[in-house]
Symmetry: C2
Subunit: 208 residues, 2 copies
DNA sequence: TAGCTGACTAAGCGCTTGCTCAGCATGGTG
DNA sequence: CACCATGCTGAGCAAGCGCTTAGTCAGCTA
């Protein structure tokens, strides 16, 4: 399954090392269920059963079904933002950094597609306060991408007429990967990342 | 609101001209509700109330809540496929036809974003037989785009290493528009279409 | 006028939902 | 040993779900 991305996500949660293993199993089951059926079509019994427990056990570790979603969404967005910042902060010029950003952004949305689906397509089910936190993270991600495009354009490495539209296209391509990528896809996440990196650079008018 | 795309969709339904106006209002209310809250979070009472009727009235015009979704999804996919075929069948070389395809595909997903959301993000809620029909239409759309890219590559107008990946990127960009485009977006659907057309042509290695 | 039809509603059925609570087992601590 | 905190379960509650039923009523036909 997609156990690796969950294992990456878990340590970023507050107090992760002291939380019982059952809480981890519940979160993992919730990610899998929300990704496959959507938040509203998933029942607390689905999640609890998949984690090998009774429905009541869920409420010992989480306040509500929505709290599970909020935790997943917050951690997923934080991980994505960290990934973007790492790529941008790394060495090289705008072209090299953009290539790295797209490669890793794309590969993450393919590898962690279950988390990605919850993060990108279940926003409407978030309680208002959790949504506010997540919306801020999404804005930060967009700003990082826009700033990099702007820098590249100013340096003459990119040719773009509308930075906002170009940034939208770049993030859009990556996000949508989590919608269509499946186990049966012939490309590995890394291959797809490299190819998308190439496509995006051409889209931005970089001479490659 | 988004009344225009619904008005475009309605006449394509079987027996549309003889169906009572109430059936139209119900379908419109269902599109709006499914797009905003998702299929499972939408109740039959929501739909009926929005259409100005009692819940029972829904079942005079449609067999079930899922039948409403199936009708919307089928008509929406058929409309998209028709749009793609029109663009491809029109005059001009691969570059001109691809530009037209992306412009119209993108503009449609912005203008008809409510229909687009239901069509692209509620597939998992479709009954199995309705899904089979819709999956075939999606495959047809992908094939049209792939064929056009292949033709352009053979003619030396496009430079692509992987046709399937490039086709995915092209449709992906358009589909994702229905996720993020809102009333508050500053670009009109047509402006966005033109800009995306430009970006895609560069992505495909066309000399423009 | 009588008979019929199609569109509709008020009421509610059977079932599932998110969530609660009293109580049980376990293992560490005095 | 007693004590208690922790993690969990079985049973079940109130609310809400999709959908059905019995019946109303305007409008058409003859």
């Amino acid at each position: 399954m997609t156990s690796t991305p969950m294992a990456d996500l878990w340590p970023t949660l507050p107090g992760a090392d002291t939380r019982p293993e059952a809480a981890y199993r519940l979160l993992q089951a919730a990610v899998e269920s929300f990704a496959e059926r959507g938040f509203h079509a998933t029942t607390t019994r689905d999640i609890a059963t998949a984690a090998g427990m009774s429905p009541a056990a869920l409420y010992i570790h989480y306040q509500s079904k929505a709290a599970l979603l909020a935790e997943i969404s917050r951690a997923g967005h934080a991980a994505t933002l960290a990934l973007v910042r790492d790529a941008v902060a790394g060495g090289g010029g705008p072209v090299e950094r953009m290539r790295r950003l797209v490669e890793q952004f794309t590969a993450w949305h393919a590898r962690a597609r279950t988390v990605g689906r919850v993060v990108n397509y279940e926003l409407h089910a978030l309680p208002e306060d959790a949504y506010a936190v997540v919306a801020a993270l999404r804005l930060d991600i967009e700003r990082e991408v826009s700033a990099l495009i702007e820098e590249g354009a100013a340096a003459g490495d990119f040719q773009v007429s509308e930075v906002r539209t170009a940034a939208r296209a770049v993030t859009s391509l990556g996000i949508d990967v989590s919608r269509w990528y499946t186990d049966r896809s012939t490309e590995t996440p890394e291959e797809l990342g490299r190819r998308y990196g190439e496509l995006v650079l051409r889209m931005l008018g970089a001479r490659v």
